[in-house]
Symmetry: C2
């Protein structure tokens, strides 16, 4: 046991007992990475697996946060607890942490059944894609049955994170708009449920037809889940109970046909490979201090060797 493990295990025990401050500190350790994050992982991993994750994604301005807030209301009305991880740099949850604009989350700020946490999108490349599942498992291990993960549906990492939820909800608006156009393909791929939010605006039927056409083209197998398309007005909560019922229907469907287990196993194997890759990267950075590395780096800077050829030589010197 390391000197540091005692405080982490104490934090963990307190968080399991319902202490929100301890939970927040555990998540900060996860964000930061390093030895203490490893310890958090060691403690939370065996206890996780009972919770369920719902991803919400879409273009900035699509109303994801308002919808998240409405879903929280829906869950709380039936007495269920919920956690929210906001990865979206345009979210008022995340934005609130930076700029103090907490307007839309005030509905739930004082409710002990709701835990809202923003995760920083800055830091190392790929950092969020490993920190997010870790954070979800901590919430899961301390007893949160539902975790909503809100991400912006623009950007490679962010769309991927949304796609790693158990059920992924893609939020669009009537008319779509320039802002998501070309990203449609990526969003189509991860969507389990489509929500047309702001459905009091014109263009709902065109958007629905558009989505249906794309679903036709995607050629789903007969027995697969076919993403339903729901209309919602998040600001007045209309359509939100139906949305939540659909999330539960999707959950029941993938639990029954074994898809949930397969998805989760696939995600864990992918995560494992990514961790190994990151550790190897760390090793490469340590090696970068060596003489042979400096020589090769110089050759690249002098343009006598291209970066890929230099990398080959560097790897030879590591025996990889």
């Amino acid at each position: 046991m390391s000197r540091r493990s005692a405080p982490v295990s104490e934090l963990f025990a307190a968080a399991c007992g319902g202490d929100r401050g301890s939970l927040a500190r555990l998540l900060s350790l996860v964000e930061r990475g390093g030895d203490e994050a490893r310890e958090v992982s060691r403690l939370s991993y065996p206890l996780s697996g009972g919770g369920y994750t719902v991803g919400l994604t879409g273009a900035p301005g699509a109303g994801k946060s308002t919808l998240t807030s409405a879903i929280i209301g829906e869950l709380r009305a039936s007495g269920q607890e919920v956690a929210v991880l906001a990865i979206d740099p345009s979210s008022p949850f995340t934005g609130g942490a930076i700029l103090g604009d907490r307007v839309r989350m005030q509905d739930h700020a004082t409710d002990p059944g709701v835990f809202i946490r923003s995760m920083a999108t800055r830091g190392h490349l790929g950092g969020l894609s490993l920190a997010t599942p870790e954070a979800v498992r901590v919430l899961d291990a301390v007893g949160r049955r539902w975790t909503l993960v809100e991400t912006v549906g623009v950007g490679q990492v962010e769309v991927e994170i949304a796609g790693k939820a158990d059920t992924t909800v893609v939020v669009v608006n009537p008319g779509w708009g320039d802002s998501v156009q070309a990203n449609k393909a990526g969003l189509m791929e991860i969507a389990d449920i489509f929500v047309i939010n702001k459905a009091d605006r014109k263009g709902v039927e065109d958007t629905r037809r558009d989505l249906e056409q794309m679903l036709e083209l995607s050629d789903l197998p007969h027995e697969a889940w076919r993403p339903p398309i729901l209309s919602v007005i998040a600001t007045d909560k209309s359509g939100v109970p139906e949305l939540w019922a659909t999330v539960e229907a999707h959950r029941a469907f993938i639990e029954a046909n074994g898809e949930l287990t397969r998805r989760r196993e696939f995600r864990l194997c992918e995560e494992l490979r990514e961790i190994v890759a990151r550790r190897l990267e760390q090793r490469a950075r340590e090696l970068a201090a060596g003489d042979r590395w400096s020589e090769l780096q110089e050759a690249v800077l002098r343009r006598t060797l291209d970066p890929w050829a230099a990398a080959d030589e560097m790897l030879k010197s590591v025996g990889a």
Copy 2:
């Protein structure tokens, strides 16, 4: 020489001679990666370094593509050639490739002095961050003096790519709006020049004050370049000549004080480390077929071992 190298070298020679089809095919090889991309890299790397890269980034809808189009017009008016790489999934350049909406690029579609190329944002994690500098070097090697790289300013990878240009232009609109709020910090960090586009709308002065305050807080050293804030109306090109003059002023500034060389060397070293890391990752995936790996993976799936601990064991078996 591999069997495949002959066609690549022929393509390269043709592209150097001005053949656009060959250039397009070289860029497709870069996007795809693999042995032929390596060959493209080997050929283009020694010839690159003479071109200059300008990054344009901002929220979806900020008018980046219209501005890019106006800058192309500015460069063409003085007889200069230009290439554009659109990484932005919301760009009509990129969107055009997928959806056929090529409206705003039609101005330049038939001009042989303009080469526009979209890069796919899908594929492997981190793929774009390595493919983009490669693509820029190909354009550079075949003689393009100016390359504009347009990315959406939301999303980890995309903001980083914009920040890797020689001069980075951050495009905002009066009032900013929810969509970029929390990403301000990331955008502030990479900006060499701020452009307030759509400056005929109200709120320009507030936005300028806002940006100036943030610049105050960022505590730049006395001798550093201080990002100017320009007002532009890209749709009627007003302010665009001043913007381009500012890009050239920034270029002259960082050329004179050695910053350009330092930036480029730093970027190359970072790229080299990333390539090594990616190669190691590939090695890890090969190892993933082994027995010991399967055992450890099973332990993770049974939740008897957490992913980080399993990764430790896997790395031990590789000797890393």
